[in-house]
């Protein structure tokens, strides 16, 4: 009986390998033939050619006579800029909204609920389009900007502060990502806090801790154990979703790659590069978050 089972297990796997091999061969030969018909040869030489397109935002030096690889690195830096600032601010928004969902103040609780339900149940793309076209492009012209307390001002040029200026594309993308992901993180945080047994609250209170301290010292550290794994996937989502920048013209790595593809027709190579880039980004975030996760888990002795 066991021998029989073993035989079938091995056969099934051999069949799987066989089918996969045939599939890859057929698809590969199709690809080869199709590319030949289009007159394209596989290879990454094109990366050294002159890109000859301009990029709106260049945090590292770039001009149109630079190579494609330079252009793609500009895009990558732009993506990283959005991802890192986005993760930072969305954490703040998410935790605030998540805690507000559990506030004993009726108004705060319900305002937070409305925020979560509106932003979670509409497409991110739509929110980005809204922020960009309906909000930032309808702001007053740069010489007539709206100013908040004198040091942040909003205009068609984006957000300006004494320290940094954000372009309207960057600002719209950032705000869209922050508020969309923040709504999901709020639910994650709420679930995490609710998973802490009530006895913990009561015990902490009976020791005489103030509510704020109960939250900070007793409940939140325990909630973090539940929060961090889904929080990680929200960070990953934010990073991947930053690729929607293409809809509002912020030159992130996907935008630049797509322009590169349009100019060179190198679908396969560009796609491989994109895969590699996003997989690296995702892996990096996962590794960092897993390290963090390890520090907050219960250490049983």
């Amino acid at each position: 009986m066991t021998n029989n089972n073993r035989f079938w297990q091995i056969t099934a796997q051999l069949i799987a390998i066989f089918v996969a091999a045939i599939l890859v061969t057929i698809l590969g030969s199709n690809l080869n033939r199709n590319l030949q018909q289009l007159g394209i040869q596989f290879g990454f030489d094109f990366l050294k050619q002159q890109a000859s397109f301009d990029i709106g935002e260049t945090p590292i030096a770039y001009k149109a006579t630079d190579t494609y690889i330079r252009a793609l690195s500009v895009g990558l830096v732009n993506s990283l800029r959005v991802a890192i600032t986005g993760i930072f601010f969305t954490t703040i928004v998410g935790i605030t909204a998540g805690i507000a969902r559990l506030s004993d103040n009726w108004l705060v609780r319900h305002l937070s609920l409305i925020y979560v339900e509106i932003f979670r149940n509409t497409p991110l793309l739509l929110q980005l389009l809204f922020w960009y076209f309906a909000v930032f492009l309808s702001f007053p012209k740069a010489d007539n900007k709206m100013s908040l307390w004198g040091f942040i001002s909003f205009s068609q040029n984006g957000i300006e502060t004494p320290w940094v200026n954000f372009s309207p594309e960057f600002s719209a993308l950032l705000l869209g990502l922050i508020f969309y992901t923040g709504a999901f993180i709020a639910e994650v945080v709420r679930g995490g806090i609710q998973s802490v047994p009530k006895g913990q609250w009561e015990a902490a209170r009976s020791l005489g801790l103030k509510p704020g301290l109960v939250m900070r010292l007793v409940v939140f550290p325990q909630a973090l154990r539940v929060i961090i794994p889904p929080l990680t996937s929200q960070y990953l989502n934010l990073t991947k979703n930053s690729s929607l920048a293409i809809a509002i013209g912020y030159p992130d790595v996907y935008f630049v790659a797509s322009t590169t593809f349009n100019q060179t027709g190198r679908a396969v190579e560009v796609m491989l590069l994109l895969m590699l880039t996003y997989l690296t980004l995702s892996l990096t975030i996962s590794i960092i978050m897993n390290l963090l996760n390890r520090t907050v888990q219960i250490k049983e002795r």
């Binding site: 199709n30 149940n121 497409p123 739509l126």
Partner: protein
């Protein structure tokens, strides 16, 4: 104000000094926001763009003479979903209040939507179907529930036939399937197709056979590492490259392929969660009864696992519904795509806020009702 209301206020809004402060800040914010929104909606916004293009948003360029087919599709969909809701939530009562709210919403919609008489009659008919459907589902839930999934599966080709034509109905090219119609259709087809693939991938990932496991893990992790727009690009641009030159895949089919490729990987992870939640004892008990391995899977493990992850699957469906908007970036004219083309009409240039708010509301209604259903299901299965 009565004593009760005063205690409520004190308890919920002003119980400590910082809560009072928060309440006041929130009230100021709420007042400011509401005032801004209401002034904008009533004075500045120009809603003619919605009025004129209402049909476009819902069915796009679907031929006007064939609207009856779209209406029948809607009627089938409403009756089936209301019957299913009736079966699942058979403990829900038709209270007078609920009926009144339903009647109010229906009559408001019927009187305020800028529609012609035929559309109003069809809408009224649908409202009627909604009520009777849930009543039928509730009353006959014992009889209907075993057949429910079969009815759904059978209705699907009929719906496709009504929309697409062929077989003695006039043929409608997929180019003319637009707007909300296309959004709903693509979301439905994608979830239905990605479900079995996702289950297979999940089984593969938890299987004891190392090579199957490796393949599944590779697929799941690569797809989950990519942004959806990349996968859609892959399907739109690369899929034709991988297929024989003379195969011409329709744009809509390529879009669906992209969604399925993407969604299956996430579905697999949801199902895997369900599989892991089944105690080993169940499998051992089934084996001890002499069931073969595949029967243990099919009869014991999968039904329990899938039931455990219904909320997650509904969540996935909500996500997929929202994600269809990305297809507008690869040239499909679903709801977001049609919004773009409406905004390109010269007389409506710059009416972004009105159009985006309107289609945002449509997306919101769909997603929010699905999330309500999912919460209800979760409570039902507890």
């Amino acid at each position: 104000m009565t004593n009760y209301q005063l205690t409520w206020l004190r308890k919920n809004l002003f119980n400590t000094w910082y809560n009072s402060l928060l309440t006041i800040v929130c009230l100021i914010f709420l007042f400011w926001a509401l005032q801004g929104v209401i002034t904008w909606v009533t004075t500045k916004a120009q809603w003619t763009v919605i009025q004129v293009n209402l049909r476009l948003f819902f069915v796009g360029r679907f031929p006007q003479t064939l609207y009856w087919r779209a209406w029948i599709v809607l009627a089938i969909a409403t009756s089936l979903s209301s019957i299913s809701c009736g079966v699942f939530f058979n403990k829900q009562q038709f209270t007078k209040l609920r009926l009144a709210i339903f009647a109010l919403i229906t009559s408001l919609l019927l009187s305020f939507l800028p529609l012609d008489l035929t559309s109003r009659i069809w809408l009224l008919f649908n409202a009627f179907l909604l009520l009777t459907g849930s009543w039928i589902g509730k009353t006959f839930n014992q009889v209907i529930s075993p057949w429910l999934s079969l009815i759904w599966v059978l209705s699907f080709p009929i719906i496709l036939w009504l929309i697409g034509g062929g077989f003695s109905l006039q043929y409608v090219s997929t180019n003319l399937w637009n707007g909300l119609l296309l959004t709903v259709l693509m979301a439905l087809v994608s979830i239905i197709l990605s479900f079995p693939i996702g289950v297979l991938l999940a089984l593969g990932r938890t299987s004891k056979l190392p090579i199957l496991r490796l393949f599944s893990i590779l697929y799941i992790e690569i797809v989950r590492g990519l942004p959806l727009i990349g996968v859609l690009f892959l399907a739109q641009v690369m899929l034709p490259l991988f297929l024989p030159t003379d195969w011409r895949l329709d744009r809509v089919i390529r879009g669906i392929a992209g969604l399925v490729l993407f969604s299956a990987a996430y579905m697999a992870e949801n199902v895997r969660g369900g599989l892991q939640s089944i105690p080993r004892g169940q499998i051992e008990a089934a084996k001890a009864l002499g069931l073969k391995t595949y029967l243990v899977m099919l009869l014991i493990v999968l039904p329990q696992a899938l039931r455990a992850v219904i909320p997650a699957i509904v969540g996935q469906f909500i996500g997929l519904f929202k994600d269809t908007s990305l297809l507008s970036l690869v040239g499909l004219v679903e709801l977001t795509g049609i919004a773009r083309s409406v905004l390109a009409q010269p007389q409506f240039l710059g009416r972004y806020a009105e159009v985006y708010l309107f289609i945002g509301l449509i997306y919101w209604i769909f997603c929010y009702s699905m999330s309500l259903v999912s919460q209800r299901l979760e409570r039902q299965f507890k």
